[in-house]
């Protein structure tokens, strides 16, 4: 017999902010995701993407909002906390992201596992939503997990049946964390060497570094890598005799002044010893 575990409160504690900022309807982001900052909360989970419609299990979809696009693959699940005022039917409660991730300009890829029934105790286990990646302004953040929290030290391997059973049956809330393993998508840009040895830097690289035609790069070998660094060009002045005379004027000391300087510095040296 299947039983469903109920959670007394919204596991993400987002209800104080409880504003649906974006919704996924049939795979489309209808409204741009906005930033939320809760009154009186210094470190709130600040951005929410709420999926409030039936989503085909394991379906992949993509949509473009006014300010960005969201791609996701997800399964459906039922609300358990009951505290979302504007959610009905099958839905996914809010997926939360740290403050510095603005989904409105991000690419989000997530997957949500299906509900499972534990073969040992018959408890229906809640699905786990995993954010596969968030790409925000060219930076990809990987590895967010949203779902039943895992106790410290608990085995994650599905092959460990005992640990898996314990995880599934544990009456726990949700965890939502972004493990900030950033990868710069620019690092994978490709450039091909021509017959003459020239390469073309990808436009996005040039744009991000503000490189323009005529700019000079220094080329340095670092192991098997080639490091290109925008060079700083500085003019070299070839001094005239008048200029050299000007320079020497500032360094000219009379014997009396030189003795005074030696005393000033000499006393300091004695003190430092």
């Amino acid at each position: 017999m299947k039983t469903r575990r109920h959670y007394p409160e919204c596991p993400l504690a987002c209800c104080p902010n409880g504003v649906v900022q974006g919704s996924v309807l049939q795979g489309m982001v209808r409204t741009p995701v906005k930033r939320v900052s809760g009154a009186g909360q210094s470190q709130p989970v600040a951005s929410f993407l709420t999926v409030n419609s039936v989503i085909r299990r394991r379906a992949s979809f993509s949509g473009r909002s006014r300010s960005g696009s969201v791609r996701a693959s997800a399964a459906s699940r039922r609300c358990r906390c009951g505290s979302h005022r504007n959610l009905g039917g099958e839905h996914l409660p809010a997926l939360a992201f740290p403050q510095d991730h603005h989904l409105g300009r991000s690419q989000v890829q997530l997957s949500i596992s299906d509900s499972e029934v534990d073969p040992v105790c018959g408890v229906e286990v809640d699905p786990v939503a995993t954010i596969e990646s968030i790409e925000h302004e060219g930076v990809t953040c990987l590895g967010a997990r949203w779902g039943p929290a895992r106790a410290p030290g608990e085995a994650s391997s599905r092959t460990n049946a005992r640990a898996d059973h314990q995880r599934k049956c544990r009456p726990i809330g949700y965890s939502a964390s972004l493990q900030c393993g950033y990868t710069d998508s620019m690092s994978e840009a490709m450039a091909q060497i021509s017959r003459r040895g020239t390469i073309t830097l990808p436009a996005e690289v040039r744009k991000r570094l503000g490189l323009e035609e005529g700019d000079v790069l220094t080329v340095r070998l670092s192991g098997r890598s080639i490091v290109l660094t925008p060079a700083v060009l500085t003019p070299i002045e070839l001094y005239s005799d008048e200029r050299i005379a000007e320079f020497e004027q500032g360094a000219r000391l009379t014997e009396h002044e030189l003795a005074a300087a030696q005393r000033a510095w000499g006393s300091t040296r004695r003190r430092s010893r």
Partner: protein, 142 residues
């Protein structure tokens, strides 16, 4: 007070030091005794080197000896250079920017034309001085 004064040398000071003189001898002695730490920028070394070759090739060896007393820093286009653009001629931005970048307390230059207006200012976070003025002031810090 901790550690030696960090003193940044403009290219013209390195050239003048290669030419010699009692004030420069005192400065180098202070560096050897640990009273000051002399720093300069890569482009300052290049500029000084070119002018030594061109004007006084006979002082090449002295020039090489002076370099052994200097820490040489790379030039960079960063926020320090950006800050310096508001204060000096574009051709000298790399000097002031590098001095600030390395945390120099004093920038010594003989270029009164381009840096003279900064020598009376006390709000820069570093003193801009001629070598003579620096030596006479002693090791006071801003």
């Amino acid at each position: 007070m901790s550690g030696p004064l960090i003193v940044f040398l403009d290219a013209n000071i390195i050239l003048s030091a290669a030419l010699g003189g009692p004030a420069f001898e005192l400065l180098l002695r202070l560096a050897n005794e640990g009273g000051v730490r002399l720093v300069t920028g890569y482009s300052c070394v290049v500029e000084a080197s070119r002018n030594v070759q061109r004007k006084r090739p006979d002082r090449q060896q002295a020039f090489g000896g002076i370099l052994t007393s200097l820490s040489i820093e790379q030039d960079e286009a960063d926020e320090h250079a950006e800050w310096a653009t508001q204060l000096v001629h574009p051709d000298d931005v790399h000097v002031l920017g590098a001095a600030r970048r390395v945390g120099a307390q004093v920038l010594i230059t003989g270029d009164l034309t381009q840096f003279g207006h900064l020598m009376k200012r006390g709000d820069l976070g570093l003193r801009v001085r001629t070598l003579g003025a620096f030596l006479l002031e002693g090791p006071s810090r801003p």
